[in-house]
Every structure is written in C-alpha cells, then in structure tokens.
C-alpha cells in the first residue's frame, strides 16, 4: 500500500506536467486551427465578404451548387489533379534514384549530398519561378536552344523537332510546372536517404550470397525495407502538390493563364477570396479541397496496405 500511493501520485504529477508542456499546442490548435475550421465551414454557407457594405446572409448550400456550375472551378480541379498525377510519381522515382545514388560508396559523398540539396533551397521560391520562366522562354530560353542544337533541323540528330512554347502554350504549361516541381527533389531525397541508411547491411550480404543481382537486391531487399518511407513521401507529396501556389501565381501573374492552363486549385481559391472578396465561396472551395486531400490520403493508405512492409507489427515505429 505504501509503495503504490506515491507512484500513483507521481504518475498524476507527470501527467499534469505533460499537459503543461503541450498546452501551447492545444491552445494554438483551438485558436488557429480548430475554431477557424468550424468558422470556415460556417462561412461556406454564407455570402460573407468581410465588408460592411453587403450584409452577410446565410445562403445554405448555394456556394457548393455554384461551384459545381463553375467551369473555372472544374478546370482548376483538373489542373491540380493532372499536376499531382505527374509530379508526384515522377518526383518519387527521381528522388529515390538520387538517394540510391548518394547511398553508394562515392568519393566526396558529403559534398555531393550537400550540393544536390541546393536546388531545394530555392525550389518553391519566387526566384525559381522567374528562373524557369527565363530558361523555358520559347524564343531566347536556353532549354529550347539546347533542344534545337540536339534534335532541331540543323541539330546533332536532325529530327526537325522544335522546342515547345512551354509556359506560353496551354498544352505545355503542365509539363513546365512538373519540371519546376522536379527541381525540388531534395526534401524527399533526404528522407529516402535516411530510410536507406536504416536498411541492415546483413540483408544485402545474405541476398548476395544467395546470388541475387543488383536489380533483385533492389526489388526484394531495398524496396520492401523502405516502403514505409516511400508511402510517407507519397502522401506528403500528394498533399503538397494540391496546395501549390507560389509558382502558379508568379508565373501566370496571378491570372492562371494561358487559357486557365495554370489555374491551380489554390490559385483560384486565392483569387476568389482575396481579389473578389468572395470569402464564403472560397471557404466552400477550401472545404472541398480538404475532402479531396482526405479522400486521396485514405485511398493511398488503403491501396498500399498490402505493399508496405513494417518491421514491427502495428505502428511501433512511430510510437
């Protein structure tokens, strides 16, 4: 009896300290997340414009009905879907390839790992958006010049192929943005690298003794062992690519052109909210975005449930 009482008391005290330490998060969640989420839902049922000129009215599901009739909204949904569809898988493969490369016995490994991360420091910035606009310029851009020299009419291999219009051609806007997104491969690359370092070397040795070649070792050792990391990068990639804003806003000058080809979901949301002050309408858009991301995440988790290998049963690793 005497031994139990203080321990219980200690546990209760520890729990109190726990709440003390996480109190900022709880408070911040309520103030800047929880309440705004509810407020956002309420706003999505109104014509709120944050001005005293037009009184706010409760308009039910009108915003949502209007959205489903809004051609630009559909276009923005399509643009963001396509962007996710291409940039996420390509990014996953590209950054995994580089991580595998930087996990080899290469001289000056530290230098390489650092240098390969540099584009990621710039990737999402205004400067990078400008830079890609310049490099992909149809007339004086270096990329089209390079294409002309390689496969142009007078090029190395004269196929007569000419560089596309990139950001100026509605058909080529999407590949241009995907290229820009690939330039930010460093973040997932580092996370892959961490995962690759965690694969026990004995497994590779065992596979080698069994006569597995490089591809078989990759397919049967590396991939299963880092599958949780791939899943992590996959899901954060989906969430991130649906929220892309800066390059779209800067490159299209806040217009989403040409022909709405760069009207990304969040760009259209921003324009509705902060250019046209249709806060209610934009809130409805935000809620639909939330649902889209939620559904995609759940789908991704479901689809990969069989394919992902966890060292320990359950979620022990995260806990």
């Amino acid at each position: 009896m005497l031994g139990i009482l203080p321990r219980e008391k200690l546990a209760r005290r520890e729990a109190m300290w726990f709440w003390f330490f996480i109190a900022p998060w709880v408070l911040g969640f309520l103030l800047f997340r929880g309440l705004p989420i509810i407020a956002s839902m309420v706003l999505s049922f109104t014509n709120f414009s944050n001005s005293s000129v037009r009184p706010t009215e409760f308009i039910g599901l009108d915003n949502y009905f209007k959205l489903f009739d809004d051609k630009i909204f559909y276009k923005s949904l399509q643009v963001s879907f396509l962007y996710t569809l291409f940039s996420v898988p390509l990014g996953l493969v590209f950054s995994l390839g580089l991580a595998m490369l930087l996990n080899q016995k290469v001289p000056f490994l530290g230098f390489f790992r650092t240098a390969y991360y540099v584009p990621t420091l710039i990737g999402g910035s205004v400067a990078a958006a400008f830079l890609f606009q310049l490099m992909l310029n149809p007339t004086f851009g270096v990329v089209n010049y390079f294409i002309a020299r390689m496969v142009g009419p007078n090029g190395l291999i004269p196929l007569g192929i000419q560089g596309p219009g990139w950001f100026f051609d509605p058909k080529w806007v999407m590949p241009s943005f995907v290229l820009l997104s690939l330039w930010g491969f460093g973040g997932p690359m580092l996370i892959y690298l961490a995962g690759l370092q965690g694969v026990p070397t004995q497994l590779y040795e065992a596979a080698r003794i069994d006569g597995a070649n490089a591809w078989q070792r990759f397919r049967n050792v590396t991939l299963p062992m880092i599958s949780p990391v791939i899943l992590f990068n996959f899901i954060t990639g989906i969430i991130g690519s649906f929220q892309i804003f800066t390059p779209a806003y800067v490159i299209s000058n806040g217009a989403g052109g040409p022909a709405y080809a760069s009207m990304f979901y969040v760009l259209y949301l921003y324009l509705n909210a902060f250019r046209r002050y249709r806060f209610g309408y934009a809130s409805a858009q935000a809620w639909l975005l939330f649902i889209v991301i939620l559904v995609l995440t759940v789908l991704a988790l479901r689809a990969t449930r069989e394919a992902v290998y966890y060292e320990t049963p359950g979620d022990e690793k995260a806990a």
Partner: protein, 304 residues
C-alpha cells in the same frame, strides 16, 4: 565489410557455395567497384544538370540587356556587367526588403525552435493517459490544408487590427507546428530515460530537465529545426502576400515578385541579379550548417 566476413574461412565453411567462393569474391568486388565508379560518374553528370539552372541565373545576371534577350542565348556574357546588381537592387528598395525578411524569418525561427522543442518534450518524455492518441491527432492535423483555416484566420487577424504587419505570421509560430513537433519528438525519444530519472531524484523539476538536460543534448536536432524554419520562411510567399500591403513592409519574395522597372518590360538580367541576391542568404546558411543539417535528418530518421 562484406569482403571481410566472406574471406574469413570459419564463417564460409558452413555455407554451401564453398567451391565457388574465390570467383564469387572476385565478381562481388568487381561489381562493387564497377557500381561505385558508375555512381560517381552519374553523380557528377547529374550534379551538372541539377545545378545548371543556378549557373544560368548567375550567368544571366551578369549579361547586358541585349545578351539576356538574344535568341541563341550566349553561355557567358561578353563582359561581366556587375553593375546589374547595383541597378537591380537600387531601382527597388531591396535594402528595406532585406531588413524586413531578416526580421520576419528570425522572429519565426526563435518562436518555432522554442515552442516546438517545448511541446515535443511533453510528447517524448512525459507519460500521461491519452498521450499517444493526442500525438496521432497532431500528426493527423498535417493533412488539414492551410487553405481551410486561411480565411477565418484572415478575418480574425483583420478584426484584431493585425493586417499589414508580421503578427499574423509570427504569433501562431509560438504555438508549435505538427511537422516540427514530430521531428523533435523522434529525436528526443533517442535520449536515455535515465537522465530524467537521475535529475528527478536530485529534485529537478521537468522544466529544469527540459531546459538543462534535453535542450543541450538535442542541439543538432534544434539546428535542423532552425535551418528548416529559416529557409521556409525566408522564401515564404503566400503568407506575406495576403497580410502585407505596404511596400515598406515587403519581404524579399514579395518585392521580387512585384519588381518595378522604370521603363516597363521584363529586364531578365536584373531579375536574375535580384533573384540571386534573395536566395544567397539561404545558400550561405545552408552551407555553413550543412553537416549539421544532412546528418541531423539522416540520423534522426524522419520516417513514416
């Protein structure tokens, strides 16, 4: 390592492939050398491709206006036009933008390092009923897109009279961010529990343990948080775009995106000069702290 274990006879006698051992050894070593050489080559070529845009930014920033627009673009300027930097940075008040960006990103870095290290300590070192559930809840909030809370937050900050200031961007940073809490918690978990117990017996409070034991031991992880936060906020665009209207409060990214030219058009040589200057602090900070950073992430293992 692999060769060593294979070449010790005691470990190899029991394996089935005794007879093939020497040839297997040779081919394995050959394969390893081959892979290493090819990897080095690909690393070099890949680095050229990946860093080419940065080179292009530098090269264009030193070109004359004519060279910057010439249809087959010259690789290098004929003469280095260093005055582009002076011109680009003085046509717009970049000095002011610099000061604003430094102020804003440092304020957020301090806020995020302090708050997240504090909150993560609770999740990593203290036991309480419901702790794990709450932690998963924190992780789940990562899925909430910022756009959902953006508009009510804007309205809230507008009512508080915080528009056209950095308060809407700095104050919330004092309440932690899910990703950084997760990162620091993973690191804290690797610190032996015995330290806490010893300190408790000595009569230290949990606050003292956090401040005097955990923080000094987790400097690499705090460094990672600081760098990540700095780079992120240095380049942040949407937040300042929404909350800052006054030109005298512009950050570098805002100023850059609204670059005004006296004669209109798009002077790419100036754009690139200004762009390079805005990203330079990020690159410098990263190189100064890179060992810290890459190691910190690779070792502490941010895994899903």
């Amino acid at each position: 390592m692999a060769q060593q274990t294979l070449s010790t006879p005691s470990s190899a006698t029991t394996t089935i492939g005794i007879q093939r051992k020497p040839s297997m050894l040779r081919s394995a070593r050959f394969q390893e050398n081959f892979i290493s050489t090819v990897a080095t080559l690909i690393c070099l070529v890949g680095l050229g491709v990946v860093l080419f845009p940065v080179f292009w930014m530098l090269s264009t920033s030193l070109k004359s206006q004519l060279e910057a627009f010439k249809p087959p673009p010259p690789w290098m300027p004929n003469t280095f036009h260093w005055e582009n930097y002076y011109d680009a940075l003085t046509t717009n008040p970049f000095g002011v933008y610099f000061r604003n960006t430094i102020y804003f990103s440092l304020m957020v870095v301090v806020a995020e390092v302090v708050s997240n290290s504090f909150i993560a300590f609770g999740f990593a070192r203290l036991r309480a009923p419901g702790r794990n559930f709450l932690f998963y809840f924190v992780l789940a909030t990562l899925m909430i897109p910022g756009e959902v809370t953006l508009i009510p937050q804007y309205v809230l900050f507008a009512r508080l009279g915080w528009l056209n200031s950095f308060k809407p961007l700095i104050v919330p940073a004092w309440f932690g961010s899910a990703y950084l809490i997760f990162l620091l918690r993973q690191f804290y978990m690797s610190i032996p529990k015995e330290y806490d117990e010893a300190a408790l017996i000595e009569g230290a409070s949990w606050l003292t343990i956090w401040y005097r034991i955990t923080l000094p031991l987790s400097m690499p992880a705090l460094g990672v948080v600081a760098i990540m936060s700095f780079i992120f906020h240095w380049n942040l665009y949407q937040g300042p775009l929404i909350y800052i209207n006054d030109n005298s409060l512009f950050t570098l990214s805002l100023g850059l995106s609204m670059f005004q030219t006296p004669f209109g058009g798009t002077p790419w040589h100036w754009y690139m000069a200004a762009s390079l200057v805005t990203i330079l602090p990020c690159i410098i900070v990263f190189f100064l702290a890179q060992r810290f950073f890459i190691q910190g992430i690779v070792v502490s293992g941010v895994k899903g």
